[in-house]
C-alpha cells in the first residue's frame, strides 16, 4: 500500500469523475455526498460523529462503528466503585445520535483499514468506504508488560481501566472482601489514560472502606516517581484516611513486575505482597485498530499533526482521544471532547467548505477525594510544530476551605451531566 498507489487511485478516480461533473454536476453531487466513518464510540469518536452530522446539516453522511449498544464512562467510574454513583447513571447509549442527527450506528468491530482504497473492513465482512476516517479506539491494555498478567488473569485481578464489566467485577470483589483485607492498586507508567485516575480510585475505595470496612488497607504500587495532583491527594489522604493508604513510588520498589492470580500475589521491587483484592493497571497503548491501520509508531501510540489531529502516517485519517500522541494534553475525556470539536471543524471545512478557525483546546479534570472534597486541574493548549503546548493552567490549592471543595464537587457533578449530554445527546 504505497503512496504511489494512492495517487494513481486518485488520478484514476479524477479521470472518470471529471467529465460526469462537467456534464451533470447535480448527479455527481447526489452520488458523492461525502462520507465520514468514525471508529470508536467513546467521548472522542462520538463527539466527532455528532458535531459533523449536526453541523453539516445532512451534507455529510456519518457512520459510527461501535460494537457496544451502550457506553459506560471511565470518568466517574471511580465514584461508582466508591458507592457514590450507580452503574446505570454512568452508562449512555447512541439512540439520540441516530435519531436527532442521522448518524448510522454500525454495531460492529473495525478489523482493517485500507488507506489506498479508503475502506474500513468490519468483523461482519461489511466494508465501509470513506472520504475521511476518524480513528478513536481509546486504549488497549499491554497484558505482556507484567509477568503472569493476561486477559484471563484480569478476570481475577481486574484492571478496570476500560469501564463496564471490568469495573463491575472490581466493585463486586470489594463488596465481597472481608474487613481488614489488603487492597493493592498497581499504577501504570506514563503515558496512560486519566493521569489522576489511580489516585482518585484509591480515594474512592478508601471512602468505601472507611464506612464499611474500616480495618482494611490500601497499598498503591506505582511505576512512577510522582503523580498528578500529588500534593492534593496526599493532603486529602492524611486528612480523611490517616494510616489507610500507603503509596510506594518507583524508586522505592513500586513497579509491579509480576502477579500470580492463583495465590493473589503481587511482586514489586523483589517483594511479594498478598492481596485480598488486586487492581492491576498495566501499561497501555493505542487500541487495536489504530495499530492494525498503521497509525501507531514504535511507542504504540499514534503521531498526529498538532492542531488538526491528522495522522502523520496515513492520509485522510484523523486520530484523537487517548490513542493519539497529543502531549502536553493528557489522555482524558475532557481532552477528547475538546479535540473532537476541532477535528469536526477541520473535516467539515475539507468536505463542505465551512469556515476554519484557530483550534481552541482545553482540558479540565476534577478528582474526588471524598463525597465532598473535590479538586481540579486544567490547562489551555495551542499547537506548535512539535506538540500541543500548555500555555496557561491552574490547579486547586492545598489548604482550600471545605466550602470551596464542596462547591468544586458540585461543579464536577454538573460537568458530568453536561459533558455526557454534549457527547451523547
Amino acid at each position: 500500500m504505497s503512496l504511489t498507489t494512492t495517487r494513481r487511485q486518485l488520478l484514476r478516480t479524477a479521470a472518470v469523475v471529471a467529465p460526469v461533473w462537467v456534464a451533470a454536476p447535480g448527479v455527481l453531487r447526489a452520488q458523492a455526498k461525502p462520507r465520514v466513518v468514525v471508529v470508536g464510540g467513546g467521548p472522542a469518536g462520538t463527539t466527532v460523529a455528532k458535531y459533523v452530522a449536526r453541523d453539516s446539516e445532512g451534507k455529510v453522511a456519518v457512520a459510527l462503528v461501535e460494537p457496544k449498544e451502550s457506553y459506560t464512562t471511565c470518568f466517574y467510574g471511580n465514584l461508582y466503585l466508591g458507592g457514590q454513583r450507580t452503574f446505570d447513571s454512568i452508562t449512555h447509549n447512541y439512540v439520540e445520535l441516530v435519531r436527532k442527527y442521522g448518524v448510522a450506528h454500525y454495531r460492529d468491530t473495525a478489523v482493517a483499514v485500507d488507506p489506498a482504497t479508503k475502506k474500513v473492513r468490519l468483523a461482519s465482512g461489511r466494508e465501509l468506504a470513506y472520504d475521511r476516517l476518524v480513528v478513536a479506539p481509546g486504549i488497549d491494555i499491554r497484558y505482556d508488560s507484567i509477568d503472569g498478567y493476561s486477559e484471563e488473569a484480569a478476570a481475577v485481578m481486574p484492571h478496570a481501566w476500560q469501564a463496564g464489566e471490568q469495573t463491575a467485577l472490581l466493585k463486586a470483589q470489594l463488596e465481597a472482601m472481608e474487613d481488614g483485607g489488603l487492597f493493592i492498586l498497581a499504577s501504570p507508567p506514563n503515558p496512560y489514560r486519566c493521569p489522576p485516575g489511580p489516585y482518585e480510585r484509591a480515594s474512592m475505595i478508601a471512602w468505601y472502606f472507611k464506612q464499611h470496612k474500616p480495618k482494611s488497607k490500601i497499598l498503591i504500587l506505582d511505576a512512577k516517581k510522582q503523580f498528578s495532583k500529588q500534593d492534593l491527594f496526599l493532603e486529602g489522604w492524611n486528612r480523611h484516611y490517616p494510616g489507610m493508604i500507603e503509596w510506594v513510588p518507583e524508586e522505592l520498589g513500586g513497579t509491579v513486575e509480576a502477579v500470580d492470580p492463583a495465590t493473589m500475589t503481587v511482586v514489586a521491587g523483589g517483594e511479594k505482597h498478598k492481596a485480598a483484592v488486586a487492581n492491576i493497571v498495566p501499561a497501555q497503548r493505542a487500541g487495536f485498530i489504530a495499530r492494525a491501520a498503521g497509525l501507531a509508531n514504535d511507542s504504540g501510540w499514534c503521531p498526529v499533526e498538532p492542531g488538526t489531529f491528522k495522522s502523520k502516517l496515513q492520509p485522510d485519517i484523523f486520530v484523537l482521544g487517548d490513542a493519539a500522541i497529543a502531549a502536553d494534553m493528557p489522555k482524558s475525556a475532557f481532552s477528547a471532547n475538546s479535540q473532537a470539536k476541532v477535528v469536526a471543524m477541520v473535516i467539515r471545512h475539507e468536505l463542505t467548505g465551512s469556515k476554519l478557525f484557530e483550534p481552541r483546546l482545553r482540558n479540565t479534570c476534577w478528582s474526588s477525594i471524598t463525597d465532598k472534597d473535590t479538586v481540579k486541574i486544567g490547562a489551555n493548549y495551542r499547537p506548535t510544530e512539535a506538540k500541543l503546548e500548555a500555555f496557561d493552567s491552574f490547579v486547586s490549592k492545598v489548604g482550600e476551605s471545605d466550602e470551596l471543595r464542596a462547591q468544586t464537587r458540585a461543579e464536577a457533578d454538573a460537568w458530568y451531566d453536561s459533558i455526557v449530554q454534549d457527547i451523547f445527546a
Binding site: 471532547n337 469556515k355 479540565t364 486544567g378 489551555n380 491552574f394 458540585a410 453536561s418
Partner: protein
C-alpha cells in the same frame, strides 16, 4: 472631527482588529462549543448555569471579571483568559440567538 467621523474611525479600527470574526455567527457557534463541555443546554442542574438563560450583559461582565481575576473560579478564569473582547461579544451574541430560538430567559 464630527461625531460621525469619529464613529467611522472607531468602526474601521474595530474592523481591522477583528476582520472576519466579530459578529460571525459561525465563529460564535465554534467558541460556544467549548462552553457545552460543562454548561447544560437545558435546565439548570448545579452550579454551572445554562448560558442561554443569562442576560447578555451579565455574560459579558462575568467573562471580563473572570478574565481580570476579580471574580473567583479557577476553571472559568482559565477559559476567560483565552478570550479577546471580540470573542466575548461573539459568545454573548451566540447565547442571545440561542435564547431567542429556545424561548429562554
Amino acid at each position: 472631527m464630527s461625531t460621525v467621523g469619529t464613529a467611522a474611525v472607531i468602526l474601521s479600527l474595530v474592523a481591522v482588529a477583528a476582520p472576519a470574526l466579530a459578529g460571525d455567527p459561525e465563529y460564535g457557534a465554534y467558541l460556544a462549543s467549548e462552553c457545552f463541555a460543562c454548561h447544560p443546554k437545558g435546565q439548570p442542574v448545579g452550579p454551572m448555569p445554562p448560558l442561554h438563560l443569562l442576560p447578555r450583559d451579565y455574560i459579558v461582565q462575568a467573562l471580563r471579571e473572570y478574565r481580570a481575576g476579580t471574580r473567583d473560579n479557577l476553571a472559568m478564569s482559565l477559559v476567560a483568559r483565552n478570550l479577546s473582547d471580540e470573542d466575548i461579544e461573539s459568545l454573548a451574541d451566540y447565547f442571545q440567538v440561542m435564547s431567542a430560538q429556545l424561548g429562554g430567559r
